[in-house]
């Protein structure tokens, strides 16, 4: 190591240390030390001078149209009032707001900040991939090589589970799920996300953009896609016979036959298979919907909260590690969502009569 490199390392360490000190001083942890006694006694959270205490609302915020955004703001105020002063303090109007929930009516189309973010992610994906694949040549350029790398990696992933023949059939959906989830997670790490929004007073009340995974609708939509895809493949591969996985007619017949011949153990096993295992299988298909939804939603929301809290506690420095972690989480969640869909699809395509007896 030359003396130049040594000096550089030293400077970097000093720089990081300075950031750390600045972070401590401006963050919530530092603020505890100069918080006034009154505030302490009032039980208020210490806040740094730049970053206010983060507020996380589970529902996505409505951004457009404007009337809906204002309605949402009213709702937020009413909700906060209820939290602070109790339900009795609310006026009738405010109570109606709280009862109606964040979205007025169930059939108005709202452009939420998560939806905007998902559009941004989709646009980026399409730009990247369509530009990379445009005029695809045998001798690829840089962008094409990158796109090919991604597509080939995903194809190998699919091939590894369902084999070469069926891989081409499953690949588009699996790859799109993977890319969509990952891009949506990663795009949320852009620093513009917490920085742009609609101000009320001195802080941003509604952000223009928010990672789409933190909106329950996005994981739920993906889970529905995954569910429909799996069931469709089951029916396509096995025909109407796919239903015998849930309604185990063979077991019922065998059970009744056993019962007639007074073989009670066999009858018990087969009837149990019909009345219990079949419905359990059907139930597990539905439960996947929920587990898919909440796994992705939980991970993305936790990531968002972690970023916000780390930036609140020790700005500048704590977020760095969290960002690294979030990159990994985004990739892993995408892999899990796509991988589970793939595995469920592979299971659905296997005839199950063979495994019965």
């Amino acid at each position: 190591m030359g003396s130049g490199a040594k000096r550089f390392t030293l400077l970097a360490i000093i720089f990081v240390f300075a950031l750390f000190v600045a972070g401590l001083m401006t963050g919530a942890i530092g603020a505890v030390f100069y918080q006034s006694d009154e505030d302490k006694e009032a039980g208020l959270t210490a806040e740094g001078p730049f970053i206010p205490k983060p507020e996380v609302h589970l529902p996505a915020q409505t951004v457009f149209p404007k009337s809906e955004r204002e309605y949402y703001l009213e709702f937020l105020e009413a909700e906060e009032k209820e939290r602070e002063l109790g339900e009795e303090a609310l006026s009738d109007h405010e109570r109606a707001l709280v009862d109606d929930g964040p979205f007025r009516g169930n059939f108005t189309i709202l452009i939420t900040n998560t939806l905007l973010s998902s559009w941004l992610a989709s646009l980026l994906l399409i730009l990247l991939f369509v530009l990379g694949a445009r005029k695809a040549k045998l001798v690829p350029g840089r962008l094409q090589t990158f796109v090919e790398l991604a597509i080939e990696g995903l194809l190998k992933f699919v091939e590894g589970v369902v084999g070469r023949q069926r891989a081409r059939m499953l690949f588009p959906v699996i790859a799109t799920i993977f890319l969509f989830v990952m891009f949506n997670a990663w795009i949320g790490l852009l620093p513009i996300y917490p920085a742009i929004g609609f101000m009320t007073g001195d802080h941003i009340q509604i952000h223009l953009l928010r990672p789409a995974g933190t909106d329950m609708n996005m994981p739920l939509a993906l889970a529905l896609v995954s569910f429909v895809f799996v069931e469709y493949l089951g029916f396509r591969m096995l025909g109407i016979g796919y239903l015998t996985k849930f309604v185990r007619i063979g077991s019922l017949k065998r059970g009744v036959a056993d019962l007639v011949r007074l073989r009670f153990l066999g009858a018990f096993q087969n009837l149990l298979d019909f009345f219990f295992v079949g419905p359990l299988e059907a139930f597990s298909e539905l439960v996947r919907l929920i587990s898919f939804t909440f796994r992705l939603f939980g991970n993305m929301t936790a990531g968002e909260i972690l970023v916000l809290v780390s930036a609140f506690l020790v700005p500048f420095i704590a977020t760095i590690g969290v960002y690294g972690l979030e990159l990994l989480v985004g990739f892993i969640q995408a892999l899990i969502f796509a991988g589970l869909t793939l595995v469920f699809a592979a299971i659905a395509m296997i005839p199950h009569d063979a495994e019965a007896h």
Binding site: A60, I126, F129, V130, A136, I151, P172, T176, A221, L224
Partner: protein, 167 residues
């Protein structure tokens, strides 16, 4: 309860439509062309590898053929050389034989010529010698013998002379 979690039916539908659109766009404009080009490339590489193998095999076999031809040519050359050497030897032998024969004919002809010359010489000598002897005898004897007696005497002398010369 669902709204508290943020579930909103129209948003859900929009997300679904978005995803399907994204899937369609990516499939049509990214996956399909890229997979096609990747397959094409794989085919191309497979073909070129096969062609290279074939070319290598062909090169090897043609190398063998050339080697074979070379060997053949070498053998042919050797054979021609041997033939030429053989022919030369035969020619030399023939020439030598002929020369020897010629020499022999020459010598024998020369010998017979010599013989003939000698015979002629002897004949002449003999003829002359008879006359000479008669003359000599006439001179010695100074007498005349009858011719028949002379001739007999001469023949006798010649006979003796001849046996002398032969002996």
């Amino acid at each position: 309860m669902l709204e508290t979690l943020g579930i909103h039916f129209p948003s859900l539908i929009i997300y679904l439509v978005n995803f399907v659109l994204l899937l369609g766009l990516l499939y049509l404009f990214a996956y399909k062309p890229i997979l096609r080009i990747m397959d094409e490339r794989a085919d191309r590489i497979r073909d070129s590898l096969a062609a290279a193998d074939q070319a290598r095999a062909e090169a090897a076999s043609s190398h063998e053929a050339i080697e074979e031809q070379l060997n053949e040519a070498r053998r042919e050359g050797q054979r021609l050389l041997d033939q030429a050497r053989e022919a030369a030897r035969r020619f030399r032998d023939e020439e030598m034989d002929r020369a020897r024969q010629e020499a022999e004919t020459f010598v024998s002809r020369a010998r017979s010529d010599i013989q003939r010359e000698r015979d002629a010489a002897i004949e002449e000598v003999r003829a002359n010698f008879g006359d000479l002897a008669i003359t000599a005898a006439e001179r010695v004897l100074r007498r005349t013998l009858d011719r028949q007696a002379h001739q007999d005497l001469i023949a006798q002398v010649l006979e003796e002379g001849e046996s002398l010369s032969r002996g």
